[in-house]
């Protein structure tokens, strides 16, 4: 498998678009899932995906085989997505907290309501919604780390390569993100622990 990917990368270095097509086919679903979680918007995720693969194609010569291609591609995707979100935030400074975006306040208000209504826990769809919204309400850097680790399954070391930061920073962000989620989802977490 590794050898095959190495072969594809060698072909890509020679400008073979077929190799690109195969790699795109292999990774597009994963990259979409990641960019969708960071950008929270399908159109933006699409833009970021396009830019990611174009950039990978352009800079494949800079890829060193000491890291996995997947990690390298994720690094491009994460950087593209983070830059995109930052640019978007600058353009939409005033409107960021409106629309369908769910703020921390909204999650906390809901928690107060949920704590008084334990029957809500029975509704899994509702729970799914609020867990997802709690993750969305994390800051960009904390959300990215928790998604890469707990959702995508990358190790601390791999995440440090993807985000170009130290492993200690990754651990620290992950710890903070989990604590924050624990606070945001407190009613549900406590309800899970409640004696039968």
């Amino acid at each position: 498998m590794e050898r095959t990917e190495a072969l594809l990368i060698a072909e890509l270095c020679e400008g073979d678009e077929t190799a690109l097509a195969i790699l795109v086919e292999k990774y597009k679903r994963k990259i979409y899932r990641l960019t969708m979680q960071i950008t929270r918007n399908h159109e933006d995720a699409d833009d970021v995906m396009q830019n990611t693969f174009i950039k990978a194609y352009q800079s494949i010569h800079a890829f060193r085989q000491d890291a996995a291609f997947e990690t390298w591609l994720y690094r491009i995707a994460v950087n593209e997505a983070l830059n995109f979100v930052k640019r978007r935030a600058r353009h939409r400074e005033c409107s960021l907290k409106t629309g369908t975006e769910v703020t921390v306040d909204a999650v906390e208000q809901h928690n107060a309501f949920a704590a008084s209504d334990p029957h809500l826990l029975a509704e899994q769809a509702e729970l799914r919604h609020w867990v997802t919204e709690a993750v969305k309400s994390l800051s960009l850097k904390h959300r990215t780390v928790v998604i890469l680790h707990d959702f995508e399954g990358f190790t601390h070391e791999e995440i440090s390569v993807i985000l170009n930061c130290s492993e200690g920073t990754v651990r620290s962000r992950l710890h903070y993100a989990r604590k924050r989620l624990r606070t945001l989802l407190k009613p549900y977490v406590d309800a899970c622990a409640a004696p039968e």
């Binding site: 678009e17 086919e25 399908h42 174009i54 867990v131 707990d150 651990r171 622990a193």
Partner: protein, 328 residues
């Protein structure tokens, strides 16, 4: 104790991930045995992660998105990195013409009235520039009109493994020379064939490429087959012929790029779908999803037998690109 709790708590995340050193882990373990508050906190963090793993969802992409994405990306890559020489020249010419136009504009800005049309030492370079620009524009137009790969042309390159890397190329003009006939095969099937004959650069084998539309079930599937040493006049394979490849390609398109590559193993193979486009919205890559032999199954097998390939065939399953590369 409080201070120690605060210090220990920082390690909870790593403790859950089992990424602490043995010494740190022992330290946390011994503290947890003694401190109920920290045990409760750790439990809460574990439950939070369990909630996350169970209930966190990412919305799926809209239907058909990935197929459209591949197609759009391919267009963009081709636009940004033109591979064919004429397109590269076109790009260069366009850039150069733009530069010359800018220079000319700068020169003309300083000249007024009759001076602009008189050939003087000052205006001579402008006339030279104008002639150059005109030439370049015409060259660019001519190159653009002469598409390196007409969409209706057919070119294919096959690398047949195990046969000494035999190269087979079907030039575009073969399409016009190919005889086209319609034959009625099995009752429920209407088969339309275009036979293309081409000779390799080496004198020995004559390879016959055949494009066949086979109606199986509701849809029509187009197959590209190639036999070594030709076929008989009746369209069936001669006794010493061997089927080199059969690949499913979408109906409505015969445009295979020259760099399309064919892989063949003992029982599997795939015509890599690079550059093949159907006339509809579905790109080929989308169609090249794994199909079990059964899904093509009986109809195809009957057709192959009718064509005389019988058991000498190597039936190539159509696989996704990833599947093929994974299996190598």
């Amino acid at each position: 104790m409080k201070m120690l709790c605060h210090t220990i708590e920082r390690h909870f995340s790593d403790y859950m991930d089992e990424s602490l050193s043995a010494r740190q882990r022992d330290l946390v373990d011994s503290h947890l045995r003694a401190c109920g508050i920290c045990r409760h906190e750790l439990d809460a963090l574990r439950r939070t992660r369990a909630l996350f793993e169970e209930f966190y969802t990412v919305p799926d992409a809209p239907e058909g998105y990935y197929a459209r994405f591949t197609e759009n990306l391919q267009h963009r890559v081709e636009g940004m990195f033109p591979m064919a020489l004429p397109r590269r020249v076109c790009t260069m010419v366009s850039h150069l013409t733009g530069l010359l136009l800018m220079q000319a504009y700068r020169c003309f800005v300083g000249i007024r009235g009759i001076q602009a049309v008189l050939i003087t030492n000052r205006t001579l370079p402008l006339y030279v520039l104008t002639v150059l620009m005109t030439t370049l524009c015409i060259a660019a137009l001519l190159l653009t009109n002469e598409s390196p790969l007409p969409p209706e042309s057919m070119q294919a390159t096959a690398i047949v493994q195990g046969k000494g890397m035999q190269l087979v190329v079907v030039p575009p003009e073969s399409l016009a020379k190919g005889n086209r006939r319609v034959s009625h095969g099995l009752q429920e099937r209407r088969t339309e064939e275009t036979t293309l004959e081409t000779k390799t650069s080496t004198p020995q084998p004559v390879n016959v490429w055949r494009i066949t539309d086979v109606s199986i079930g509701e849809g029509t599937t187009r197959f590209l087959t190639s036999t070594a040493n030709g076929t008989g006049d009746d369209g069936n394979a001669s006794s010493d012929s061997e089927l080199l490849v059969i690949a499913e390609i979408p109906t409505g398109s015969l445009s295979l790029r020259p760099r399309g590559m064919l892989l063949q193993e003992d029982t599997h193979g795939l015509l890599l779908a690079r550059g093949i486009r159907s006339n509809g919205d579905d790109p080929v890559l989308h169609r090249y999803e794994r199909k079990q032999r059964d899904s093509l199954g009986n109809g195809l097998q009957a057709w192959l037998e009718q064509m005389g390939f019988a058991r000498k065939l190597v039936l190539l399953e159509t696989l996704s690109l990833t599947d093929v590369y994974d299996s190598i």
